[in-house]
Amino acid sequence: MIEAELSRSVQRWCPGATGVTGAAKLSGGASQETWRFDITHPDGPIGAILRRSPKGYGAAPTRAAGLAAEAQLMQLAFEAGVPSPRVMHVLSAEDDLGTGFIMQRVEGETIARKILRDEEFAAARPLLARQIGGILAGLHRLPQDKLPELRSRGATQEISEFDRDYRSLNWPKPVFELALRWLRDHDPGPSVETTLVHGDFRNGNLIIGPDGVRAVLDWELAHLGDPMEDLGWVCVNSWRFGEIDKPVGGFGTRDELFAGYEAAGRKVDPARVKFWEVMGTLRWGIMCGGMMQRFRESPDHSMERAMIGRRASETEIDLLRLLSPRGS
């Protein structure tokens, strides 16, 4: 099975490695899979992760940067001191494993609800909002001349794109219309500065230990754009997992996030952050609609997808709380 190919692969590029054990699939859709395994080595086992598109699934969806770009970004982040796994190997044809890369496994927790509830993380939680600010500042400062080729997206383009996605669902939603109007009326236009934007930086895509953030994952939506987009997205209520009074991932306040960002030498534009939070809330709502559509059209009748379709109303109440709050 996959262990045979992995064994042959690691022996080519990891000096001293004799094989692999314990390969297990962690997650996988049709086009992308994540596997964990251990590299057998005389100095002791080395924990590793494979991210790949299996053979025959080379093409990336339009919004995704692609696995090769993801590997390059993670390596660049690692070198710049942004918490990130070290990329050990980028797959080539002779690996016979499809396209993708192998990285060092970082121990810790990614499940947001556990991070927000478990005693193990109690000491780290109050520090995370500020720490995330510092990490985002580091990420937005990654050297642009070393970045892989990425799509470029500003606020105005994103509004049109979401408008088109929403209309293609043929799913009349007065609250979404209201949000689209608000976004057009508050479109901040091109940002003063264009930087790398992670695109999916949120609670759930971070590996966290008792000491804080250990790694930033899921770089597949990385692009060039307004750095304030990442600060807005991390505050979207859907990623607070019930801790609704702590906007930054359920960990802490916007002030703490902004202080961490500015302490690292970068400037925050709170109006733009709010714009991107509204945009992000609508974005997740439209994605829920996309899940409903895929549930209807694909033959597998996934109950999970069906139920995600029924979560669009969560984003409607959050949009109303942002755009038309009721008295306190």
Binding site: P172, E243, I244, M307, E316, L320
Partner: protein, 125 residues
């Protein structure tokens, strides 16, 4: 007129059977999927119980707001169009109240445990 038990009673019976008799027998990923299945049946039960009343109230509000008649779907489409065209906005009397009432009714069916919903429900209490 169809015979009884009603759809609500039937759906509830299946959900209770899965919850009480089958859950203890299943583990791993299948138990996650079973939980999703039970959540679906509970949602369907809530919708069957609440939809008629909430749709009727929604239609009444929409008629007053738009000055026209139609099904709940047609009226929602018309409201969406008017907001898109900028003919109706949050300054329009009754719009904010209508959207809040409608959204609260949706959450009561979709996700009554969602924290934002519980917070807003407390405000009404």
């Amino acid at each position: 007129m169809q015979d009884e038990p009603t759809p609500v009673e039937l759906t509830k019976a299946v959900a209770d059977f899965l919850r009480n008799d089958i859950t203890p027998l299943i583990s791993g990923h299948q138990s996650f999927k079973l939980r999703v299945a039970i959540n679906i049946l509970d949602l369907v039960t809530r919708q069957l119980t609440q939809e008629e009343g909430s749709d009727a109230r929604e239609v009444e509000r929409l008629r007053a707001l738009l000055g026209m008649d139609g099904s709940v779907t047609e009226l929602n489409r018309a409201l969406a169009d008017r907001i898109a065209k900028g003919e109706v906005d949050l300054a329009t009397p009754g719009l904010a109240e209508h959207l809040w009432a409608t959204t609260m009714d949706k959450l009561a069916v979709d996700q009554p445990n969602y924290a934002s919903y519980k917070r807003e429900l407390g405000r009404e209490g």
